[in-house]
Symmetry: C2
Subunit: 334 residues, 2 copies
């Protein structure tokens, strides 16, 4: 019974030597982890961040500040441990998995790269649905299979894919009804003219694909291979009662899809940060999510997850390690 467990967690939290509620969001988080793990004896084991990479046909419309080659170049950078996510994951003792979901590049056999390539990028959704339904289903299944093999109980999600803020903005619009203008942002660094062009591209594509209504149709039509694989991974992670650590704009767009398929997934999600990518704040509001960090990040890769991880540990550690008023013989409120 969850209400009994919730009461036990509240009691355990409130008996710690601190004013009632004074650990704020860390208390909320400790309780959430207890409810996810169905115990007051919470723990975090073998945290891992899965970074899904893929390319996007929509880049043909000139919607990104960087050339498509940056996707594979950054994947190579991940493998060489030179990217921000490598630095933050190592600092915070988090494993990393780098997954090629559909990068437009032949890596050959690369140490540390998990090859789940389904195509050399998606199709240009300004003309055709990004994926066929079959490809989309294969991506979902592939993401599920990856998570089925994990040993730990906390998973972060990251991504790399030039053009994927355009896909994510289209998904956001279709799944929330928020006007496209409020969904688009500068991505890796568009000018305001560039953002306006991106908006027009999405609006035209939305008009073209007006029959995409169901969440999986929307995902196949506007999504990316990395996004679809993440949706599968998220669904499987919640099924396994893992703590899901959500990163920025693109990862949250995947969650919008997953939450439409399985609304209960939100109980398992910890929102690591609010990104500076325009639209993320409203996306979080739509999900009634309160992010842990607000550092004006807009880098992706799962960096927000890696940076938030010490706060998850802090919430678990205070619950497990702090003294109680009784054990420390501290007087209670007068």
């Amino acid at each position: 019974d969850n209400s009994a467990l919730a009461a036990q967690l509240d009691q355990r939290i409130n008996n710690k030597t601190k004013p009632l509620g004074s650990l704020g969001m860390l208390e909320t988080l400790a309780k959430q982890i207890g409810l996810i793990q169905q115990t007051t004896d919470i723990s975090l084991k073998q945290a891992v961040i899965l970074v899904f990479a893929a390319d996007h046909g929509i880049v043909a419309e000139g919607i990104s500040a960087y050339p498509q080659d940056v996707t594979w170049q950054m994947v190579a950078n991940f493998l060489a441990k030179g990217a921000a996510i490598n630095v933050f994951a190592q600092q915070n003792h988090c494993d990393l998995q780098i997954i090629d979901a559909g990068v437009n590049h032949n890596f050959g056999s690369r140490d540390g790269l998990i090859d789940r390539k389904l195509a050399h990028g998606t199709r240009n959704f300004a003309q055709l649905p990004a994926m066929t339904p079959e490809t989309c289903h294969r991506a979902l299944a592939s993401g599920m299979a990856l998570v089925a093999e994990l040993q730990g109980n906390v998973i972060g999600f990251g991504e790399m894919g030039i053009g994927n803020t355009t896909a994510a903005a289209a998904l956001m619009h279709k799944l929330t009804g928020i006007p496209v203008a409020q969904c688009v942002g500068a991505g890796t660094g568009l000018s305001s003219d560039g953002v306006l062009h991106k908006q027009r591209v999405i609006e035209a594509a939305v008009a073209l694909h007006s029959t995409a209504i169901e969440p999986l149709d929307i995902l196949a039509t506007f999504g990316g291979l990395e996004i679809a694989m993440m949706v599968g991974a998220m669904l499987q992670a919640a099924e396994r009662r893992m703590v899901l650590l959500i990163d920025g704009f693109i990862v949250t767009s995947a969650l919008l899809v997953a939450a439409r398929i399985s609304p209960a997934i939100l109980d398992y999600c910890v929102f690591s940060h609010c990104s500076n990518e325009h639209g993320h704040r409203e996306m979080l509001q739509h999900l009634h999510a309160r992010p842990l960090l607000q550092l004006s990040l807009r880098l992706g890769e799962g960096t927000g997850c890696a940076l938030a991880l010490p706060l998850l540990h802090a919430s678990v550690n205070f619950l497990n390690q702090m003294a109680t008023f009784e054990s420390a013989q501290v007087s209670e409120k007068s």
Copy 2:
């Protein structure tokens, strides 16, 4: 020349493999640390949090939700490693120093307690100035001496003292001119009636001590021994070009005093979090400070400092460890 160093830091930050500015506040922080340390080769060494504890005569007016004994009981809890600050400091590899600045209790010789007791608490500032000018000066000197002996280059500040949100609110009012009603909060958990009573107590004391105008007079009149010792410690830490990690409402009230004595101290300060104690947000605004964390904490002890420490490490680590566009052969913006 700081402008040359600032440009070098900007260049080093901008050459990293990430969109321009995409690490947000971590970039600002890396640059600030570079300017503090006067180098692009930044590092954090032997982080330590100093927790100053003292009692407050003003508790006689019934302004706290907890009895005064909780001050010494929590000091004992710190020494037994059962408090929140112990848990978070240990998690994030931060040393702790627990300093008796003026607790109303005879600890005898206690392992790990740094005895700098100047009195068994302050006088009740509803009747008399909390400290004599001499006691206040001794507290400042004591704080300076403690910091003069430190080996590291990053210092966090924490405190424990039943009644000290009342002292801090009075300091805030006197040093910022913000009305008392906007400076008082619930502290460890007052009812709204309790908060109103606290406001009236402060307003009456402010009227009584209307001749206290200079910052050190204000500190001696309304402050606490732990607050005065912190002011000295802060001034010395900035003098030594350390990174100063500022905690919540009470620590920031000490900084208000220090910044009036030496405005340049603010260049050395990293604001770890915005507390839920009413008044802290306005205090930070007054200092034009942007806090790293907003977790609705209101615990004190230096807990915000300990929780923010991984973000400081992240800012140093990305600057030192990330690849550049050139080294990783990643294409730049098109």
